[in-house]
Amino acid sequence: MFKVYSPTAILGYGFSEESFENALRLKPDVIAVDAGSTDPGPYYLGKGISFVERYNTKRDLFYLLKMTKSLDIPLLIGSAGGCGTKSSVDWTFEIIKEICKENNWKFRIAKVYTDISKDFVKKALLEGNIKTLDGSKEFLEKDLERVTNIVAQIGIDPFIEAYKKDVNIVLCGRSYDPSPFAVLPILYGYPKGLSLHLGKILECGAIAAEPGSGRDGIMGVVYEDHFEVFPLIKTRKCTVNSVAAHTLYEKSDPYYLHGPDGVIDLTSTQFIQKDENTVIIEGSKFIDSKEKWLKIEGAALLGIRGVCIAGIRDPIMLSQIEDILSEHQKIVDDVFKEYEGKYKIYFHLYGKNGVMGEMEKEEKISHEIGLIIEVIGENIEIAKSILGFLRSTLLHYGYKGRISTAGNLAFPFSPSEVIWGEAYSFVVYHLIKLQDYDFPVLIEEV
């Protein structure tokens, strides 16, 4: 058997000391943790930064390094730094270096970079080695111009190669979420289907338990013909329901989970309650891919986003709010002819359809509306000019039937506008054919 400890849903989301101490007593064979996600949107990949704060990542890493040291077991980190760019792998590495210095610990670390150059992607595009994926649109060479970072989501092979370099820690760029959990069981001969399915369940920490939590760990044990998962604190349980339901989570098809190494086939998977807290999973299979197609992710810079937040309480104004706002779009287009094509305006109306946008079916609106004016300008000056103009014009706009003539907007803050920063878009979310591609592995001793 092989014990895999997943301390938390995302490195930096945390875990209790109790959970950590319980895991330590169980003496896992490996600590594996996923740090990544595209869920927070394209900004972090576009910037090449973490969506988790440094302090929180450092806190988790301190405990995990302590366990690595005391049990002399490996620590495998997938999608280090969240988006998994070289910059975010290096960011994680610097934190580890700092902790080691503070505690006088020594480790041998492999860094695996999974960035893919734009030139490589352009070449693949010309050779027909790029495919759309899960609803993404085809892109052209010129669409890559404003893309800042592209990463490939790697599978188990680069991990294994890095681990074989006799290291304590593997810090990997963007990787398929289950990979770090499945790598060592697979290396030691456990079935791929079981190992990867275990990884899929473990990668979100205690979200697969009841009650679920992203801020707690879970343990998985792989055997020749099944695996088991159980929580680390008494107040949680792993049930057939919680574990099987997690197989559905964030995935389009719960029977066939596609990844860089192939497909996890769950059509004959059985979930069995072993005891109050533990679930046995058996029958998960693996279908190897003949060709190596990896997912690549890339975000393009669109411009600078500025935001203004204001409340509207006047019923006369609210009854014609859509007309008033479209009138303001026209006024801006007229006044800022010089900037034509260089800005976009979006009005978010909380209390009307702020959450569901066009899909909102509810027709009545709230007695007050939270208005967010969003402007994306080609540069900061354009974004600021248009946002400031909209704020003052809307504040004093004389709509039909107006009796509240002092001002139309209630601002909660001064200043009422803020420059939010760069706005990005997922332009690359595709498959690329990467047969025999070597991802660089760098060994560091700290």
């Binding site: 609803g135 559905l248 959450v355 878009s425 979310y429």
Partner: protein, 103 residues
């Protein structure tokens, strides 16, 4: 009967930046089986609930181990793109709260 009385989980979430995946997990296996056999949750059913085109409903999958129905629909706006309202896609379940099911 209201759908909310039949399910213990009713949720939406991104499955990648372009797809919204919707999960219904039923409390009762018999009711789930009955609805599954009837193919109650057709693409047409989902397109009516969400007021979207049927072709924007990508797939409907029944998952027996937990008595779940999963539906994948195209996001109108890519996650995090300008004009998006729900980057994680985690609050798009409201239209299902009002739905009645013939059981």
């Amino acid at each position: 009967m209201k759908l909310t009385r039949l399910v213990k989980v009713l949720r939406t979430k991104n499955s990648g930046p372009f797809i919204l995946t919707i999960d219904l997990i039923f409390k009762d296996k018999k009711i789930y089986q009955e609805l599954k056999e009837k193919e109650y949750f057709s693409k047409k059913w989902w397109s009516d609930v969400y007021g979207i085109k049927e072709e924007d409903v990508i797939s409907v999958i029944y998952f027996d181990p937990v008595c779940a129905v999963k539906c994948n629909i195209k996001r109108k706006i890519t996650s995090g793109d300008p004009g998006d309202t729900d980057v994680y896609g985690a609050q798009q379940h409201a239209p299902l709260l009002e739905v009645d099911i013939d059981v």
